[in-house]
Symmetry: C2
Subunit: 151 residues, 2 copies
DNA sequence: CTTGAAAAGAACTGCCT
DNA sequence: AGGCAGTTCTTTTCAAG
């Protein structure tokens, strides 16, 4: 962990929205000189606060019009079941996110497809072929908003 | 929509993992010259394939050790209910993601907190104060893996 | 699409307040 | 800590083949 002042928080917020901002541009935005902003970024990087700069894709522009969240409950709960499931699910390209969770479900999957017929194909031929799946719940994404978090 | 060749797909895959890659570095990785890679990137950008370059934060390094997914079902389903809920949920900084979905739930929330006691505070004072909440399901994140998607 | 070169901008360094 | 001024490096951008 690391302790942040308000300037660090503002800096992280700005970078979380647009990771292409240069140290100079950030400084202007925060009322700091370029080297001052740069030193703060470096310090945060070295503290391990940044996990990486990722490119967010527009799935609709790529022809992937359907996003479905699946809640998976495994039928068999042995030690091997988790590994089997995780290995098999990683071979499905339509699965964008695999979350291992504790609670109502064992796994939560984010699945994308071109359209509903395409999603049915993925569901029947891929998801339902996964080892040890007990029950499935589905939710279709209508809209989504992401925010930086508390800081 | 836009049609992509294999090189575009490889390019998107590489950028999705590390958005800091320059056109030159990408070209080397793909067997293209720097200007060729650069033109492809530009073309994809203009086609609206890229939604933005975001900085991924390490929530643990920021002292946010707990991530919980909440499935929310509204009790009141009028037109106004959705707007009221969305407005109120946006005022909670601990809510990182708001997904409006169709199916078992009406909304899915990704909530972060420092620890379990802190999460209980958020749950009791913030989430349960949201207007129109009928039922709540919770899942605690153990681990997570993200992948680029089918392309 | 490639090579090569010029121009722009960003990262990094010392030194000083 | 922050600012200033400067160097060095990378990246963008524009030639021409």
């Amino acid at each position: 962990m690391i302790d942040l002042d308000d300037t660090d928080r503002a800096l992280i917020r700005a970078l979380a929205e647009d990771a292409t901002l240069s140290a100079g541009a950030l400084g202007r935005q925060l009322g700091l000189s370029q080297p001052a902003a740069w030193r703060r970024i470096k310090r945060l990087e070295e503290a391990g606060v940044f996990r990486g700069r990722r490119l967010e894709l527009d799935t609709a522009a790529l022809g992937l019009g359907v996003t479905v969240f699946l809640g998976v409950k495994l039928a068999t709960k042995g030690r091997a079941s988790l590994g089997d499931f995780e290995r098999a699910v990683q071979a499905i390209p339509e699965v964008q996110t695999v979350e291992h969770v504790l609670g109502m479900y064992d796994y939560r999957l984010r699945v994308v497809a071109r359209d509903i017929p395409d999603f049915e194909r993925v569901l029947r031929r891929r998801i339902m072929a996964l080892p040890g799946v007990g029950s499935l719940d589905a939710n279709v994404l209508l809209s989504e908003e992401r925010r930086p978090g508390p800081l």
